[in-house]
Symmetry: C2
Subunit: 421 residues, 2 copies
């Protein structure tokens, strides 16, 4: 049997280091060109496979591929596409195999979060059923840090660093303005189900009492009264109050804080947002002047302030995926393991996809202080190493110089067309 080709795709919301994993996969495939043929990348993730839109990565220069390591976004395009439930129909999975077969693809590297781990597993299972051999390996990626069986998820360390740095900086700003002006600053961050990202704001504090003074977690039912009381006390003690709030924060009945729909100027229903809603509560209960920021995409694309540890881990899991495939492994996710010992160090491991799929790793309650508004030393000990080190991109004309790929599609071989339902 000759050399078989490989396929790589990015899935779901991108991170500032997912391209570091892509870089590693490509470089590892190139380094093993005696065993692996061409590496194709899916244009816009798994949709690229379904539509037979395959990017020939061999046409990219090694300099361009190397630059991926310091470039945010998803270089080949990612997607939010929910594969059909396989119990209803396996047509989509069969289509994938059909495309892989047409291009003699024997390695499937899928770079994503929990949903894509499930897809990766199913690809492996269906290929078995269809008698088509493919080694499906999942490469972990998510800013949400909610993948199980890995100590952390590549992408999280960098968003955590961004949130910690931004919180520290904005806190210095409001501290200098609070005597005569703004007293409340709220930073709204991502995290619909798990509070990992909001928790990272706590790393801005060097000692007890430092900002942020309040963290709002999705894990803790929100009480307006307790929140207002804590804000009032903090302003009394410190002169100002800094809040980091998770977009997923909600009340005891499950209703999102941001979920209070209101009508905008045009009479359209609009989602309120956590930060403006909290700010409004403070304004009307306590009368303080407020400011709030919504980091949104900035937080997950901030490659300029990525964690060096995170970049290294994102690269390592990508390379390991190829190496493990060459060792004959399949239906696994590459994992990051924290070594024992006082000083942080890590190594790579693997977990069977059957154990990864459809499990979310929530933040342990022991990571959150008793009053529900802060992080414990245990949380700090866990998160601190993940934001260590800086890995600055090169600059040109005052802005980071990021990878620019050609992204050439190869000719299609199938005469059938895939239609998204």
């Amino acid at each position: 049997m000759g050399k078989r080709n490989a396929f790589y795709a990015q899935s779901g919301g991108v991170t500032s280091v997912i391209n570091a994993s892509a870089c590693a996969v490509i470089e590892a495939c190139r380094a093993n060109s005696d065993k692996i043929g061409t590496l194709y990348a899916g244009q816009n993730g798994i949709l690229g496979a379904l539509h037979e839109q395959l990017i020939d990565t061999s046409l990219e220069s090694s300099a361009a591929i190397s630059a991926l390591k310091h470039s945010p976004g998803g270089a080949f395009g990612s997607c939010r596409y929910k594969m059909k439930n396989i119990h209803d129909s396996d047509a989509e999975y069969q289509r994938l195999i059909e495309v892989f077969k047409a291009h003699d693809i024997g390695y499937f590297f899928y770079n994503g979060g929990g949903d894509s781990a499930d897809t990766c597993l199913k690809v492996s299972q269906i290929s078995d059923q269809m008698g088509y051999q493919i080694q499906a390996i999942h490469i972990p990626k998510t800013i949400d840090n909610d993948l199980p069986l890995t100590d952390c998820s590549p992408g999280f360390g960098s968003v955590a660093k961004y949130v910690a740095v931004s919180t520290r900086e904005a806190s210095l700003d409001i501290a200098s303005m609070c005597a005569s002006s703004t007293k409340i600053f709220i930073l709204e961050v991502m995290g619909r189900h798990a509070g990992w990202i909001a928790a990272a704001g706590g790393l801005a504090a060097e000692k007890a009492g430092d900002p942020p003074h309040i963290i709002i977690f999705p894990e803790i039912p929100f009480s307006r009264e307790q929140f207002i009381a804590k804000v009032e006390q903090t302003v009394k003690d410190k002169g100002y109050c800094v809040v980091v709030a998770s977009e997923g924060a909600s009340y005891a009945d499950g209703a999102l804080i941001s979920g209070s729909m209101h009508k905008d100027a045009f009479g359209h229903q609009q989602l309120g947002g956590v930060a403006p809603t909290l700010a409004s509560m403070v304004k009307h209960s306590l009368g303080y002047k407020y400011h709030y920021a919504l980091a949104d995409y900035l937080q997950r694309s901030a490659r300029h302030i990525a964690s060096k540890t995170d970049v290294e881990q994102a690269y390592a899991v990508g390379r390991a995926a190829v190496e493990k495939a060459l060792e004959g492994k399949r239906a696994i996710m590459v994992t990051i393991e924290r070594n024992s010992g006082n000083e942080y160090s890590w190594s790579l491991g693997e977990a069977p996809l059957t154990e990864v799929a459809n499990r979310e790793k929530m933040m342990p309650r022991s990571f959150i202080t008793e009053d529900g508004f802060g992080i414990t030393q245990e949380a700090r000990d866990y998160m601190q190493p993940l934001i260590m080190g800086e890995d600055y991109p090169p600059y040109k004309n005052g802005v980071p110089e990021y990878a620019q790929l050609k992204n050439c599609l190869i000719a299609k071989k199938l005469d059938t067309v895939f239609s998204e339902a």
Copy 2:
């Protein structure tokens, strides 16, 4: 006459480099300790002088002072305090002179924007009238870049760099998601009257057609129809659309885009914000999924990505203020002058405060493209040098290590008390 003391205060919204100016003033005073006595800093800006709350900067270590050069926020506290109109009452100015007299302060270094230039001028004039000699020197600072007679204002270069970097990064994020998900990304930035900060987003583009595709300036009357048409065309051409919008953007009749008040979940009136309002327009006219970010304080405190040029200029104007005072200069603002020649270089100058006060430098129309949605090459040529260079702060535990001052107040000498009106 013996050595006289000096006073320094920070005024208005802080910047990521105002402390670099503070650092320079303190270091220059220390270097001239044969001519200048103690340098006092106003606690919370001019309020510190009015309340006789003076910080003794001589108690800070040279390491702590040196660290100010890489620390955002306002190290001694700033304030938003509108001095009374001198034509109504000069009591506040007389109080300032009284405090300065009590502490033998002969040098007044005021670090702020247009309003504080006016205060600085009045202090100089009133001291003349009262026969109390003081050399009032204004040190320019504003992220808004709207001070006249200086090529640029320290603080602007860094916020410009932050906005350009963030725009480039978020653009890569949405570019990779747009095929199956979000198609519009809007970044709302500061700038109530002048569009300098929004314009800086344009520096994210390397060539025509690169994001940002639309910039919304306060200088250009907003047309919903033209905006929606441009968004639609951009999505058609590029697959996605990135917008940088100034908080001060308004309609032809002067009504702010953000000014559409709505009721929040608690029935309270709330200001809408430019980004969510624009996003809502797009959603309801074109149906595209959107994301938006509100940089708020993050943009003006982002010392981690400050412009090296800006840091150097902020330091230079601070040092020059002291040097000019020692040359006997008074009632002037230190200015930055752009030297002629193809390569950017700058030197320092000065402008009489009588010509600085109450003049805002708006962005020239020639800096904005004809359609009102972009910047011209002229704007680019002006702004590009101001964001050049990186000047990273030191890191500890994964976050920047910023200056921590003791900020010890000296004993009061006056038995009179100042009451804010």
